[in-house]
């Protein structure tokens, strides 16, 4: 039986707050669900800032540029500057830029990705609806023209995901020198209203990976690349950095992979039963999903601080 995350309470609050200088927080499922803020998340984050903590928004979501994230944050009452936003799209562009990539990218995704590529001067194709119009589908092989300048495929979230897109991505990836990047592997979004499951980028990446028959490099959590980008720019000490998230196989694993303090909130995809099952498991891989701390939702930290510091 591995140790369950400790619920932050009155007794451990001061020790907890004194243990970090920096906060990395996931967004969907922690701060908001879709366009709805979760409880008092904004006031909780602003309170941590008031206590002198640096705050960064670390999201696997590839659908928005950093500017759009700042706008969303501010619209919901969060303090945010462009430099505070670390998205999988941003990290993708940084990664390619650091490789001095100077060919073209085939993008399965949205302007969230292409705007970041624009910022680092990398050209691209794709990133627009591309449904099957030829019927029968087997005619596609006679109509698709591959762009000879493409030397990387990026798969991010794309509501227009389609068979022709999978075919193009897989065809580019037949060239073993073609880079294969997935923005993230989240299986689903924490929405689930009315019994509907909202698919995440992970299932799109998996479709392309299956036909390409080789694995992508993943930019988002739990990959440590995101922390490398943040800490290089901001000189963060891992042991003095708190990672807050709702998804344990991305957020919490990311925190553990990078040596951070970890806090899971139960306002997204993870429930207490999951934590108990992982703690009871004999599989050590499942123990890695267990955060240091937990709270029902991030707003609870505000309540605790207000009750004990005012």
């Amino acid at each position: 039986m591995a140790k369950l995350p400790k619920r932050i309470d009155r007794e451990c609050l001061k020790k907890f707050l004194d243990s970090f200088d920096n906060v990395l927080t996931d967004c969907d499922g922690v701060l908001w669900a879709g366009d709805m803020i979760i409880g008092q998340a904004h006031e909780a984050l602003n309170k941590l800032r008031a206590l002198g903590k640096k705050v960064f928004y670390v999201t696997n979501n590839s659908t928005k540029s950093r500017e759009e994230y700042v706008e969303k944050c501010r619209g919901l009452g969060f303090v945010a500057e462009k430099e505070d936003i670390i998205s999988s799209s941003f990290v993708t562009a940084q990664y390619l830029s650091q490789l001095k990539f100077n060919k073209k990218v085939y993008v399965i995704g949205t302007s969230g990705i292409t705007k970041e590529l624009d910022e680092v001067g990398i050209s691209y194709t794709g990133a627009e609806p591309d449904p099957l119009v030829e019927n029968p589908v087997f005619r596609l092989k006679d109509t698709i023209q591959l762009d000879p300048d493409v030397a990387a495929v990026v798969v991010g979230f794309d509501g227009h995901f389609s068979f022709p897109k999978i075919m193009k991505a897989a065809s580019y990836l037949e060239n073993k020198d073609c880079l294969f990047i997935g923005t993230n592997t989240d299986e689903r979004f924490p929405l689930g209203k009315g019994g509907l499951v909202f698919p995440g980028t992970g299932c799109l990446v998996k479709a392309v990976e299956t036909v390409a028959e080789r694995p992508p490099i993943i930019m988002g959590k739990p990959s440590g690349l995101m922390f490398t980008v943040i800490s290089t720019k901001n000189n963060l000490e891992p042991s003095r950095t708190l990672m807050i998230g709702d998804r344990c196989n991305t957020d919490i694993l990311f925190g553990k992979n990078c040596g951070l303090i970890t806090l899971v909130v139960l306002s997204g995809v993870t429930e207490m039963e999951h934590l108990e099952a992982w703690a009871a498991s004999e599989d050590e891989e499942q123990h890695k999903l267990l955060a240091d701390y937990y709270l029902p939702e991030i707003g609870d930290i505000l309540t605790l601080i207000n009750e004990n510091y005012n």
Copy 2:
């Protein structure tokens, strides 16, 4: 070092031909590539029939009904009756029928599946283009209506695969009593003309499986379900049955799983280098991919017979 498949030659020809009464043959990559017959495949199969062998066409391809397969076979010069065709769509319908399934099926796929469902009197929804029309994509959760009668999801080949389809399939599958069936797991079709890779059903099944977070029941090879359907109807002795295929992780593994004699042809997705790598591997799972016999293409058996029996 495991044993490589033996090339059928003059010396072993008689022993080989005497060892089986029944022939199960894969189609794409063995008999034809798209709409092109492979070498003398039709004459080779017809010759085996002339020698008294029963011949069945066993295909993971879910895009055609059995009638359409008969038409395709005959159009290319193969002798074929409806009863000779065992497709993943047919087995899907048989499987549901044997379960006395009396609810509705959500189909990601084509008329190849729905025609077989019609034959066993099972109702369905889906199986038509369903692109994203709502923008932004997050509005989907407000517009999709689930059909409360759906109690099974079938994922087959679908050129109109789309984000809304993934979302519907995953949402139906949230009900743990909802059956989850994949027609097959082939990663790609053996076409590859002009550097283009043609995605197979496997990548569509994998996308749905990833977001549903549970595995499907697979109807096609290498699952033994297909042999159960054929042998129940035709009383076939496994040890007197030859399985011919081009894809080792489906066709050959299927043959081995069912105790059949196996012959791999190199006219589809498998090359000699693959066989050598599997034989040299220390992983016993890879040894299971090694057939008893190999030939460059199935027409070579005709040449051998003509040279030695005429």
